[in-house]
């Protein structure tokens, strides 16, 4: 059983636009997660990206648990980038 689902910026770009070709997919996933009581997460980074074009009050925050970006995440992100740069 899934404990939670992390929804990324691209998900919200589709889910919040009924005219998007992937809207139905996104919407059905969303419905399924809620019905199954699978927790939905959004990161503060996705919120920042979304707010480049939109506003925070367009996001369904009532259904979402926010994952903040703290110092320990920043540190891990730094070392992760170094790791990927070495792979290239």
């Amino acid at each position: 059983m899934l404990e939670g689902a992390m929804l990324d910026t691209s998900f919200f770009l589709r889910f919040l636009n009924e005219n998007d070709k992937l809207f139905n997919n996104a919407n059905n996933y969303y419905k399924y997660f809620l019905q199954k009581e699978i927790k939905l997460f959004i990161s503060t980074i996705s919120i920042a990206e979304y707010c480049v074009g939109g506003k925070i009050d367009e996001l369904p925050l009532k259904n979402l648990i926010v994952l903040p970006f703290n110092i320990n995440h920043a540190e891990k992100a730094g070392s992760l980038l170094v790791y990927f740069m070495k792979l290239e």
Binding site: T9, S10, L13, R14, L16, N17, E18, N19, D20, Y30, K31, L34, Q35, E37, K39, E49, V52, G53, G54, K55, D57, E58, L59, P60, L61, K62, N63, I65, V66, L67, P68, N70, I71, N72, E75
Partner: protein, 258 residues
Amino acid sequence: MEKIGYIEIIVKGFKGKLELTPETFDIKELAEIIEQAEKLLFPGERKERPIISYKMEEGSVKNIFKTSLQAVIGFSAILSEVEAKKNLDFLELNTAKAIETFQENAVKRDYTFEIKTSVENSPTLKIDKTTFYYRTSENWVDAEFYFYGKITNAGGKDKANIHLVTEELGTLYIQTPQEILAKAEENILYKTYVIRVNGKQNSQTGEIDKQSFSFIEMIDYNTKYDEQYLKKLRSKAMNWLNKIDPDEWLKDIRGYDA
């Protein structure tokens, strides 16, 4: 083989001109020692811990805590490490805090604490105003958390708090301004919320200080697919989403073409 061991916390010092003895040792100080001894022996979940019994003896004030030998042996190893490293950063948070409390009292009251165990050749950890048993504070950084759980209690006469039962971290106690609780329009007890808090987190281990939480906001979390709610959000969002190509837009803001 005897399965019971003990730790000994000896307190030496003066109260004014009176030397510390069991007769001059106040119950408040005793309560504090007992609280810290429990944390030293069982820093994690304490609900199902073995019995700890207590005895006070002369000299100046000798506090003896008897409990399972296994816990005492474990604690003896910790004492050795603290003695050798002169550092608390490797310890679990509750153990580190207990030792810090002894250090603070040693400075504040000019007491000497000697902590040892019944284990053969047990080291003695001596804490007085000249020692410096504190965690390296730079490892503990400010962080923000969103906790999902059920509120089981809210209030308090002086320091109000919310008790939030979470799956990940058990029950959390979040300091909350009384005005927030007074303003709550509905009964918040036994309902599920997401609570946003400030707190401290160890940047090296990721450990969260469960006693550091202060309230920022409460989010009325629900798992209902609310058509009307989502329609309202979409009507706002579509004003700009209809004008972009999502893939291109994301590539652009993420700098893929740079």
